[in-house]
Chain length 209, copies 2
DNA sequence: GTCTATATGATGATAGAC
DNA sequence: GTCTATCATCATATAGAC
């Protein structure tokens, strides 16, 4: 039995998962900035405070590392949005639900931006086997949004001529694109969320007619 | 004076710019699929039907090639949208202008998808000097959209509380994200353009109130 | 304008000491 | 669990023949 607390073990680098987590954080940051192929295992190890060969104690290889980074990039956003929707009253309308989901997505997206941006940027560049592994995680998150929009449509609060698949893709595309320009120094993510939810709910023109 | 027509010279690979264009097309396709660092000059040369050393007759090196690919990815869309807007009557409203601009952006984006997708995917992964070179091209295209939205706001046809910078970024983000899933076999780009223009103009909820 | 050959260095992965 | 040493392979860029 360990004689050190969990934080102490993490600080000492002897936590069972401390090494693994340090490696993933380093990999996410480097993959985001330089792409998949440009990042050497030596560079990841260096950022994580170890030598190249030590990575193979925690992961089977480069594909194993990037697979974990890609999955975390989706799963953290998925968990945040799921939790935000669970906190809403059961009779919440589309405006309230959309705002909560958009705000949770953006807050998680921009808080874990090394993982989420790495996912958006390099998914299309990793080996096919790694892509396949991440697709299941992606589909699970897409279903959350599809269900949210379907429920609103069933309640008659959405315009009936919409293609909800296109709405979902446009919305997620616009949200994820914020990774390329958003700067916490200049804007509050909650302001961004309010503006984006309003934009998709109401559009830009003054009158509907 | 050449005894062959321009198409013949291009087909024979003896056009003054045929080699350069073949190299750029090959590079765009490979950069899009595998990322910047993953693509070797030998691979680009092979796709273009030559050997590695021959590239240096047309370009100074890898950064020169990727810079040209990134610039073309923006410039071709910019030119298409500019031409579409120029064809509109001078008294065209925001609905007509938005639809024309969205349709032209999507058509050019998806027609030159190797160049445009390479730009979206690898811009953040190329050396800083290459990024700087492409930023001027990006800013020029952003100004076109900023002017379009500003004119509509001046005419009072937009909701007055909008942050037009955010509207522009959300719209371009949603449009460019189509590169990751759009398939010409399953959808007409004009249908996509109509749905996206309508979505941003009118939003998704049934009533504005 | 394209070729071959080459200089110089970095890569992913592995083996085995401690 | 981390280290060092090493293998085989691949990279960009250059030089010079044709």
């Amino acid at each position: 039995m360990s004689t050190r607390s969990v934080p102490d073990r993490i600080a000492a680098g002897t936590s069972p998962d401390g090494g693994r987590e340090r490696i993933l954080a380093a990999a996410a940051r480097l993959f985001r900035e330089h792409g998949y192929a440009a990042v050497s295992l030596r560079a990841i190890a260096g950022e994580a405070g170890m030598q190249g060969g030590s990575l193979y104690h925690h992961f089977r290889g480069k594909e194993d590392i990037v697979g974990a980074v890609l999955d975390l990039g989706i799963q953290r956003v998925h968990a945040a949005v799921e939790a935000a929707l669970a906190e809403l009253p059961t009779d919440a309308g589309i405006r309230e639900s959309m705002h909560a989901a958009v705000a949770a997505h953006l807050e998680a997206l921009l808080s874990h931006s090394d993982y989420t941006s790495a996912n958006v940027r390099i998914f299309g560049q990793v080996p096919p086997a790694v892509q396949e592994g991440n697709k299941a995680v992606r589909r699970a998150y897409e279903k959350l949004w599809a269900d949210l929009l379907d429920r609103a449509a069933d309640h008659g609060t959405l315009r009936p001529d919409l293609d909800l698949r296109l709405v979902r893709r446009a919305l997620i595309g616009a949200l994820n694109a914020t990774l390329e320009w958003f700067d916490r120094e200049n804007m509050d993510p909650r302001h961004l969320a309010a503006a984006y939810a309003d934009l998709f709910l109401n559009g830009i023109v003054e009158e509907s007619a």
